[in-house]
Structures are given as structure tokens and as C-alpha cells.
Amino acid sequence: MDLSNLNPFSSSDHRETGHLKMDKPDTSRRLDEMQQGVISKSLNRPDGPLKVSGTARYAAEAEADDMATGVLVGAIIPKGRVVSIDEDAAMKMPGVLGVFHGKKLLRNPAQGTANQAPIQPDGEVSYMGQPVALVVAESFEQARDAAITLAITYEEDDDGVFDPKIAEKEKPDGKQIDQGDFDAAMRDAAATVDSRYTTPVQSSAPMEPHASVAQWNGDQLTLHGSYQMLNYNKNELADSLGIDVKNVRILAPYVGGGFGSKLGIAPEAVAAALAAKALERPVRVAMSRRTVFETTMRRSETSQRVQLAADKTGKLLGLAHHASVSNLPDEGFTEPVAAATHFLYGGGSRRFTYEVARLNRSCAGSVRAPGEAVGMLALESAMDELAHELDIDPIELRVRNMPEKHPESDIPYSARNFEDCLRQGAKRFGWADRRPVPASRREGDWWIGVGVAGAARSNILGESKALVTLNADGTALVETDMTDIGTGTYTILAQIAAEMLGLPLEKVTVSLGDSELPEGPGSGGSWGAQSSGSSVYLACEAIRTKVAKALGCAAEDLTLKDGIATGGNNRKPLADLLDGPIAQEGHIEPGATMENFDQAGYGAHFAEVAVNAITGETRVRRMLGVFAAGRILNAQTARSQCHGGMIWGIGGALHEELHHDTRDGHMVNGDLAEYHVPVNLDVPQLDVLFIHQRDDHANPIQAKGIGELGISGAGAAITNAIFNATGVRVRDYPATLDKILPYLPD
């Protein structure tokens, strides 16, 4: 769209105040004018040396004198209630200090951004493994033994619901959409696809198990926790404990992966805090791996039906996406399966339905790219099926269905470049060499094939504050309660500040993960980099205004580079220019551009697979991801994020499946030996390409989320490649060998 008549400086006072509400696009692209030359560069992480030497401290590694250790006890019934707990017997075991249960324990973690306590069931049990007690002892060995032998009497209900296939379903209001005459579109179409897909339960399985160390000083609680969103977590923790949030401090300088599972306060934090209060000593609770699987968020299994109606050129006339998912009773989260389907492709007649089964199995919540990660497996497979049906190249089919405006809300898109991703990727991957006829390439015992899929993930801006201090000695400090869960926050915030303030990267210190610092957005929903980055940028803009004043030039004329300010006819080192530190808070708020423009990151995945002609085992041989996600803040950490997403795509396509026994809802394979996350040998060297893009509607740094874009659609490129290799269309994920074996060509 033409932006020339919009005044980019309409909120120009943000250069004085450091505050901006994103009501209008910001076309000034100030970061592009800066001179330091560190933004977007592949710079190494400043926290790297700490991580590779084991010096970075994670939650469970907080030290305190007199530390006691707690171990959570999970329910061994799926539904019912705790009648009694034999505390006396436990207390007689060596080293046992206390058994904690009762009204305040959490049933499951808070959903992301809940900002209040999750359900506190007071002994009511809703799923196997639900934490019902915490046993605390002098040592971990004693606590573990006492926890596993703790005698609990339950009253079991016989009306548990365990099988999503036969469970009654709710149809949530506001999620059912019927636009145009979809049935007519299907009837009149030259070609249709009507396919059912299933995806299994998955788990985030971050390498660091969820852990909390709780310590009280009077009424003041300090919790070293492994959490993603401290601004919400402190409220959730305070609400769970029934105390004032002013008395809660959460520290999370390093978080060993989250992927959604550490968005909301979890049972171990509340249990540790209760025990530490009662025992008047610090208590550490680190979940066992099994407990991580059982009591943190799972991704809901999905059953999906995608219907496509197209004319003979492949243009979509209609599109429908039906989703059936599950969660615990009284849990608000519904896996937003069709999130990307709403805006990715056109087709005037559209239908969306959702249904939710209430099951007595572990809690469902956000797992990396909730919605897109599973929904695009179905949508992008269906598009491949349509392309095959119409004998149209899958890339051409997608290009023919890119709408001008959002096909449901009719609002314009912000920067997109979806076609560029597909075309550039095709060139780089060698798509032209593809053989369209399935099962036409064989090397020894392996069938070889290639596949493509689109990627799309909505972009969000979250409110964020950051405090930046520029010191006269040419150093700067960035402070926010934002977290770095491996995403590179330490690095990119330092790069933004260094670029804006004209400092070498090593002169900028970033302090994160302390709930007493200015409230950032937290890490989740791929909004962290652009939201916290914008607040750092805004703080720096305001600092620049002050520096310009000190130098006696207009802010637009100021150049900051290597600690030297230049403007007008003046040139001074910061040390000579500043009397003392300049501290400034930056504050970004989402505004009208999020409502009036459909914002998303886009991409294209290309995969080459080999399918064993004897066993049906699939190995990924090559993979390329091309992404357009606004300004790339650090090409190296951004690439690592994309690698992560693409490899999760491999896991989702080929291995990952958490089984619940439908007789009692218990988790069958809740460990890392049998829940198969990808290992090093599953992953070929991956290729990532970024498309240069500035999204002026997104935020003043023109950057968009990338952490979840890389997984969106990735798995579909792999199953589409399996189809190209063998002619076998796997619609029940993951594509394990047993699903391919019966249909392999001779």
C-alpha cells in the first residue's frame, strides 16, 4: 500500500518521552540510518562463554544455606479425590521434614498470560500424575524415596473420560465461522480435497526440567524459577499463595528452554513456596523428567478435516478447516488449530468449526506455535493433495491463492513476501529438478522425494518497558524483566542499544530475568524480540534526543558511533559530553496497526527425504527454510531459531507422539527414551535464507516474530516429500514406519 501520505513522525514526541503506542506505521526506519553497524549482524552471544563453561546459573542451581529438597507426588488415580495422606509414616523416614498438600497446590500450570492462579483443586484429582503433595527432606535421595512410598488413600470416581474419539464434545462460542456458501463451493468445484488428518499429543520437553528454589525473608518471597513471563508469573504466584505481588520477586536470568511449557506459574513453584514458608528454610523443587511430561502443558492431540474446493486453474473457491481437540475440564485453552488457515489463502466461501473434548488427561496448553504447528500440517498437506489432483506445481498453486486482503476480515496485510519465499526457495533448493510423479526416484534401498510447504505465523506486539542507562564512560546498561530462554534476547537487546547509542557491542550490558526490573512482554508467542526490542529502541531514541541537546544539534542530525557523538559542527566523545549517566525508560504499547493490518511472518519449507524401501523408515536428507519476518536483528541467532523450528518440524513429522492409555488416561511414554525428540543424526545440515523485509506496521524496529515461524508448516514439507518419494500420503502424524510400510511400492 502507499504510505507516502502518512506522517511517520506523528508520534514524534516518543523521541522525547520514550513512549509509543503503535497506532500508525512507523516508516522512519531509524535503525537503518544508524552508523555502528552491529544490528542484524551474526554476532556471537555475550552469554555464550558462560553457557559453554557451565557458569550460567539455572533455577535449581541457586544456592542457600540450609537448603531442603522437595519432590512432587503425582496422583495414581485419574479422577476422584485424596481422602487421606499418611504423613506420620512419611515423617518417620530418615531426613523427611514435611509433607505439604491442601488448598493451595495447583492442579496444573497457569495458561500463558493468565495473570492469575490456575485451578487449585484442594485434593480433587482430574488426571493421573496431578501433583497432590510435596515431600520435603534434608536430601534429594531421602525426598525421592519418601515421595514414591508416600501412602495416599484416594476415592476414585468411575466417570473419568479418557478417549477423545468417543468423548462428548463442546463447541466453543465465537470459534465457529461460516462465510459464503461453502457447500455450494464444494459442489461446483472442478477439484476438491476432503481429507482427515490427526496429530498426536506432543510435549515441549525443554532440556531443563521445571524447577523453583523458594526462600522467604519475613513476608518477602524470592523465587528462583525457570519461567518465560515474569510480569505475569509474579501475579500468578502471588494469587496462588494469596499474598500481595509486592512481596514476590522471581529471578530467571537463564532458562533452559521453555517452548510454552514455562509460560505460566507451575505446581512446583507454589509447592516450594508453601514448604519454604512452613519450614522456615529454603526449599528446592526440581521436577523429575516424568513429572515434566505429566504436569506441564501438552499440545492437544488434534483430529482435523480440511476441505478445499478449487476451479480447474487451482483457484480456491472454498476452504474449510474443522478441528477437534481436548483439554481438562474447566481449562480455557483451546488449541487454535486453524490459526493460519484464516489468512494464508483465499477462497470466498469458508467454514471453520472447533470442538473440544473434556478429558481426564494432563493439561493442554501452548507448545511452540500453538495452532500453526499442527494446523499447517493438515492445511499444507491438503494443498499438496490439491496440487497433485490438478497436476499443478505445488508452488504455483500456492501463488495462485494469495489473497490481496484478509479473506475474512477484509483488512489489508502488512509486509508479506510469501511468494518471494517460495520462489527464492525453489531456486536455491533446485525445485526445478523435482520429478512430479511419485515414486520415480530410487537410490539403492531408498526412495527419494522432495516436498514444499508454506509457513505463516501471526505477528504480535506486546506491551513492554525497558530501562536503558547510557554512562559517560561509553558503556550502557539495558534492564528489563524480559527473559532469554535461548532465543537470544541478551544478544539482540545489546545489539539494538549498541546500534542506537553508537557503542561497540561489548560496551552494552543487558540485565534480564528479574521481576523487579521494568516489565517486558515475556518470552512467548514469538513476540519477545520485537516487543522488548522496541522498548529498548524507544529508550535509546529518547537518550539520543538528550545527547543531541547536550551536543547542540537536532536529534535527526546526531551521529553516534564508537562512543563519539557527531552533529552540527561538533564532535565529542561521550565522556566529554555527558555529566553523568542518562537513564531513560522505553515503553511500547500495541495500537491500531495490530487491529487494522493483518501481520504475520511468512516462509517456505523445502525438504528432501529418503524412505527406506524395506522398512519404511524416513530420513530427512536436506532441508531449506526461507523466511520473511521483518528486520532480522541477528542473522546468527535468528537462523538458530529457524533451525530449532525446522527440527521440531522433523520431530513432529516423523517421531514425536506422547501416548495416553485410553483405559485410564495415564501417560505411557513420558520419558526421553520413548518420547522421541530428534537426535543429532535425525538432522541434516539445514539451510536458512532470510528475505530482506521491513514491516513498518509491526513496530518501530520493523521486526517480527521468528521463533515459531520456523516450525509452522515444516513437517508438512516432509510428509509431502514422503508422498513424492513413495506415493504414500501419511495423514496420521507422525509418519512412523508402520504407517508407510503397508503401502510402499514394489
Binding site: 542484524s40 562463554p49 557451565g54 535421595e141 533452559g256 526440581a286 518471494d420 537462523r639 543429532n680 528475505i691
Partner: protein, 195 residues
């Protein structure tokens, strides 16, 4: 289900860790991993699963990499242990640690100490001519290709999935050419005149 009727007798164990002798007086149930983390304040070695299924706890015992979560401390009385802290510290990183930083061979960092120790020991195994499951010919010495590295490092899970960076870091530390440069290309279609 009976309570333990007897008090737990502690066991005195001598461990030489990163060249320093330590006496640990602990419950016999204490794993080498928990001895490091809970008794000796060496938190660099991580607990990811406690069941030998992730590799985050990898240490070297007398030069060989093992999962310290599946080892009782008392069974290693007198052994020489090397943990990630013993390989190098900020300002004085080992070549492997430094390569992990330069190739972004990590994200959250939690599996990283295990990866670094495992990779360091793995290079030693390769130098001794140990084959792997993906070696074509077991009779000859094996070149450490990317596939060989990936197979030999498959005992170290990384959920952030930094595997490409990890492999490049190891190639680099082994004196080989990594695949591709650090970072990713950002293609500017406007400047290139495309589209």
C-alpha cells in the same frame, strides 16, 4: 512400602575432579551427578532426565564420557573426573568451548555443558580409531564426517535443536572446515532487482 528402619550410613568417597581432590561424605544413593551439583557446588553438569536419556550430565571419568546420572558416586572412589568447569572458563575457553560460541552451537545453554564434554571426549574416541554405527568399513580408520559426528553425538539431546551449530563447532574444533558460514544470508530482492 515399609519405612527404612535403619539410619542411612554415609559413605566417604574420594573424587579427583578437574585435578582437585575432594572428599564426599554422602548417602550411598547419591549419583555422581548429584554429588557434583549438591555436594560440591559444581553446577555446570546438568540434570535433564536423571535416567541416561538426554546426555546433559555427561562428564569424563578417566577420560571416557559417561552419563553421571547413572553412576553412583561411591562406585567412582579414586577416579579422575573431568567436568565442563575443568575444560575452560570464560576468558580461557577450551578450543571446543570457543567453537561452540563461534558457531552458535547452543540456544538455551542447558544441554551445552554435556554437549561440550561429550564432543571433547568423542574426538578422543575418534582419534583412537573407534568406529560408529554409520561407519561403512569397520576394518579401516574412520574419517570424522558430519554424519559420523552426528551419530556419535546422538546421546546428547538438544531440544532447542542447535544440532547444525553443534556439528559445525565440532568440525571446527577438529580442524575441519565447517559447513557454511556462521549466520544466514539476508537476500535483498529490491537491491537485486528481482520481483
Amino acid at each position: 512400602m515399609a519405612n527404612s528402619p535403619r539410619p542411612i550410613a554415609m559413605i566417604e568417597t574420594t573424587l579427583t575432579i578437574n585435578g582437585t581432590r575432594h572428599e564426599v561424605n554422602a548417602d550411598p544413593r547419591t549419583t555422581l551427578l548429584d554429588a557434583l551439583r549438591h555436594h560440591l557446588g559444581l553446577h555446570g553438569t546438568k540434570k535433564g532426565c536423571d535416567h541416561g536419556q538426554c546426555g546433559a550430565c555427561t562428564v569424563m571419568v578417566d577420560g571416557e564420557r559417561i552419563n553421571s546420572c547413572l553412576a553412583l558416586a561411591c562406585m567412582h572412589d579414586g577416579d579422575e573426573i573431568t567436568t565442563v568447569e575443568g575444560l575452560g572458563q570464560p576468558g580461557n575457553l577450551s578450543p571446543m568451548q570457543d567453537a561452540f560460541v563461534r558457531h552458535d552451537g547452543y540456544q538455551c545453554g542447558y544441554c551445552t555443558p554435556g554437549q561440550v564434554v561429550s564432543a571433547t571426549a568423542m574426538l578422543g574416541e575418534a582419534k583412537r580409531g573407534w568406529p560408529s554405527f554409520v561407519s561403512d568399513d569397520l576394518d579401516t580408520d574412520v574419517a570424522l564426517t558430519t554424519q559420523e559426528i552426528s551419530e556419535r553425538m546422538s546421546g546428547n539431546l538438544c531440544r532447542c535443536s542447535a544440532y547444525p551449530g553443534i556439528v559445525n563447532a565440532i568440525l571446527d574444533a577438529d580442524g575441519q572446515q565447517p559447513e557454511g558460514e556462521a549466520g544466514a544470508e539476508i537476500v535483498n530482492l529490491v537491491l537485486e532487482g528481482a520481483q
